[in-house]
C-alpha cells in the first residue's frame, strides 16, 4: 500500500509513466497507478497533454528534415574519385 501511495502522489513517477506509455505498453499495475494519479493531478494532466503535442511536433520536424534529406545528392567530383578508388582497390 505504501508503494502505491507513493506512486499515486508522485508527479516524477507519473510523468515517467506518461513518457513510457508513448513508446511502449505499460504493465497493468503501472497503467492503474497512472490513471489514478491523473484523475487527481491537474498539473500532470496538463503535462500529459503538452507532452503528446510536443512529441507530434518533434516527429513532424524529423519527418520534414528526412524528406529534405531524401533528395540530397553527392557532387559528381566526389563520386568520380570514389569510383576511382574502388577501381584501384579492385586492381590490387
Amino acid at each position: 500500500m505504501n508503494h502505491l501511495k507513493k506512486v499515486i502522489y508522485n508527479c516524477k513517477q507519473a510523468t515517467l509513466l506518461i513518457e513510457k506509455r508513448q513508446i511502449t505498453k505499460l504493465s497493468f499495475r503501472e497503467s492503474v497507478e497512472l490513471r489514478i494519479h491523473l484523475a487527481g493531478c491537474s498539473m500532470c494532466k496538463l503535462y500529459n497533454k503538452q507532452s503528446h503535442v510536443i512529441s507530434t511536433m518533434v516527429l513532424q520536424l524529423f519527418r520534414d528534415s528526412a524528406q529534405q534529406a531524401s533528395t540530397a545528392k553527392l557532387d559528381e567530383d566526389f563520386k568520380k574519385d570514389l569510383q576511382d578508388r574502388i577501381e584501384n582497390e579492385l586492381n590490387k
Partner: protein, 190 residues
C-alpha cells in the same frame, strides 16, 4: 569475382547506390562531411567483405546494412562515456523539476498552459524555430534514440542493445529529455 558473389558489381556501385546511401545517412546524421566519409567507408568495407556476400539480399540491402552499422557506431561514440554520467546527471537535474522527497512538481518548474494545448500543433516557422533551438540542448543520446525509434522503427530492446544503454537508463533519458524540452518551450514560447 567468384561465383558466390556474382550479384555484386563494384564497377557500378557509385552510379547505382552512392546517392541513395548518402541520403540515407544525411537523414540520420544530418552532417554532410561525415555522411561522405561513411559512404566511402561503406564501399571500401564492402569490397573487403565481398566474398561474404551470399546473394541472399540485394546488393543495395547488403550495402545499407554495412552502412547502418557504421551509423550506429557513430551514435555510440557520440554518447559513449556519457552513459553513467547521464543517469546521474538526469537524477540531479530532476531535482530542478520535482521535490526530492515528495516527488511533487516544484513551483518554479510546474507545467503552465502556454498555447499548444488545444490547437493544431503545426503552427508555423516561428514555433518550429524555437522547437529546434530547444532540441539542440538535448543530449546526443536522445537524438540517437529518437532517430532509431522513428526512422527505423527499432524496438526499445534493440536500441538499448545497440547503444549499450540499460533499460532503466533508457527511460530516465527519455523522461529527462521531454521534461527539459517542455520546460524550454514553456519558457520561450509565451
Amino acid at each position: 569475382m567468384t561465383t558466390e558473389n556474382q550479384l555484386l558489381n563494384p564497377h557500378k556501385w557509385v552510379d547505382t547506390h552512392a546517392d541513395y546511401l548518402y541520403a540515407y545517412t544525411i537523414s540520420r546524421l544530418n552532417n554532410e562531411e561525415l555522411a561522405k566519409d561513411l559512404v566511402q567507408e561503406t564501399f571500401l568495407a564492402a569490397l573487403q567483405r565481398a566474398s561474404q556476400f551470399e546473394g541472399k539480399s540485394s546488393e543495395r540491402t547488403w550495402l545499407t546494412a554495412i552502412l547502418k552499422n557504421k551509423i550506429v557506431d557513430v551514435y555510440r561514440k557520440k554518447s559513449s562515456g556519457l552513459n553513467n554520467v547521464t543517469e546521474k546527471q538526469a537524477e540531479d537535474e530532476q531535482k530542478d523539476f520535482f521535490d526530492e522527497d515528495t516527488g511533487h512538481w516544484n513551483d518554479s518548474n510546474r507545467p503552465l498552459p502556454f498555447g499548444i494545448e488545444d490547437q493544431d500543433p503545426l503552427r508555423g516557422k516561428e514555433f518550429n524555430h524555437i522547437l529546434q533551438l530547444c532540441m539542440q540542448k538535448l543530449p546526443t543520446l536522445w537524438m540517437s534514440v529518437f532517430t532509431m525509434k522513428h526512422m527505423d522503427d527499432a524496438t526499445t530492446e534493440l536500441i538499448c542493445t545497440e547503444l549499450r544503454v540499460s533499460q532503466a537508463n533508457f527511460w530516465v533519458i527519455i523522461h529527462r529529455a521531454k521534461l527539459s524540452l517542455r520546460a524550454c518551450l514553456q519558457k520561450n514560447w509565451i
